[in-house]
């Protein structure tokens, strides 16, 4: 008999717990809804631009501070030409693997995120630009004189990022005896380069220059300057977007005005990096045609 009372009491207690656990969460939901509504209250029309948050010199943002970098500067200029003030830009992080989804799902209006124009990607998204032509290159320690190009990497250790063929290409085409380590981000690669566990880091030259230009890395590394591929950085837009021509015009104007050069110099200062002249003035830099 006594046992029964205890179990009834336990049941009642647990029911009370469950109920009380319910009520605060429902008020929470209401509060969340309110703040959500407050956030969308903004003045004027906004444009959502996707950038990388983790590539110093190109697209970089710490916390909720202002993003910096070359991609960001070009994005601001283009947005300005399209009629958006700087305050109307909403910056959204678009890591490499998410870029197509973000455009297709309507999370962003444009992407400036070291986004190379390729046929495979063009099946799902539209491209304007290119606004920059990069090439794969190597980052080495400042005092290194041995590594002058990908062929010199036999027997050396090389770091790159998972999900990019950059490193594999070196192994396949230039130096079979290279040791590869793939990491989640270039920041890890740079720490290995500094500690001596790897001899070179490889990816697009402007990304390397951006890494080398950060205050904590200043003076430690140099870009070899012997680009061996061509990566045409385009502006990702939803497929069939009518903005393509306007973006191309804005990029042309930015180059003509000299703002392009300025942005580039400011973001790679102190690394001795200059963009590959032949790439950026040659046929690869020609803007895509917007009829599609």
């Amino acid at each position: 008999m006594r046992k029964k009372y205890i179990s009834v009491a336990a049941l009642a207690a647990s029911a009370a717990l469950a109920l009380s656990a319910c009520s605060p969460s429902s008020t929470d939901g209401g509060g969340g809804g309110e703040t959500g509504g407050g956030e969308t209250q903004g003045g004027g029309e906004t444009v959502r631009i996707g950038i990388k948050f983790d590539q110093p010199g190109l697209g970089f943002r710490e916390g909720s501070g202002d993003p910096t970098g070359f991609d960001v500067d070009v994005a601001k200029y283009v947005a300005g030409e399209l009629g958006y003030a700087e305050g109307d830009i909403e910056w959204i992080q678009t890591p490499s693997a998410n870029r197509e989804n973000a455009l297709e799902g309507g999370e962003v209006d444009m992407i400036f995120a070291t986004y190379s124009i390729t046929d495979e990607r063009a099946e799902r998204v539209g491209f304007a630009g290119p606004y920059f032509v990069a090439g794969q290159d190597l980052l080495v320690r400042q005092d290194d004189t041995e590594i002058t190009g990908p062929e010199a990497l036999n027997g050396k250790n090389l770091c790159s990022v998972t999900g990019s063929t950059s490193a594999q290409r070196i192994k396949d085409e230039y130096a079979e005896g290279v040791n590869l380590v793939e990491q989640g981000g270039y920041a890890e690669c740079v720490t290995y380069l500094e500690s001596g566990q790897v001899d070179a880091v490889t990816t697009d030259d402007i990304i390397l220059a951006g890494l080398a230009a950060t205050p904590e890395n200043a003076g430690k590394f140099k870009v070899v300057g012997n680009a061996f591929t061509t990566e045409r950085y385009g502006v990702g837009i939803p497929k069939g977007s009518d903005q393509c021509q306007a973006i191309n015009d804005a990029i042309t104007k930015m180059k003509d005005e000299g703002a392009w050069e300025e942005a580039l110099t400011a973001n790679t200062e102190g690394t001795g990096y200059t963009p590959d002249e032949t790439l950026n003035n040659g046929p690869d830099a020609e803007l895509v045609s917007c009829e599609a």
């Binding site: 197509e100 799902r124 998972t162 990019s164 040791n179 720490t191 566990q197």
Partner: protein
Amino acid sequence: MNGFLELFAEYDIIGAFWMNIRLTILAAIGSFALGTVLAVFRISPVGSLRAIGTSYVNVVRNTPLTIIMVLGVLAVWGQLKITFSSDFELNFFVYAVIALSIYHAAFVCEAIRSGVNTVPQGQAEAARAIGLSFLPAARVVVLPQALRGAITPLGNTLIALTKNTTVAAAASVAEASGLMKTMIEFNPNLMVSIFLTIAIGFCIIVIPMGLLTTWLSDKLAVAR
């Protein structure tokens, strides 16, 4: 369908999954060995050993596997420069197996301990009564029964381990999830095929494990 063929032609998908399987097998052996030792620690009559076992389990079980993996590569390899092999592929494979073993040993330990709880007190007392001291009693009487009772939780741990081998991508091991990232980056047009290929691949590996676990736990259950 064309998408699938294209993927298999261009990327070494089978090789990547084979890497996951090799990681699973070696880490399963490693974590089972370490986990068994820890379980013996935790049921031993020596207080300090019990404390070691308990603190290991509580610390490691509450540390994300990614942290252990990254700590190994970023700190132990990158800064302390401890290298197992001059061949990077082997070196990072060893790091991944060690990290996976360290992490899953905590879960194996708890699985075995739950198996020990299924062994009636009388068994240990009877072992003691015929003159066996702690280790022989554990080895001959308690653990064999405990393992048979622990097959289901051990199987769950093995399945979790199989899926956790994808974290080895953080340690520069060329396995399936890293390959998926590469494929999505360069063939976003085939994204659905890529996702299905990897998902089905893991199902093919994991479902038989689940079936085998269920079958074994019925077959080997200690009839009392």
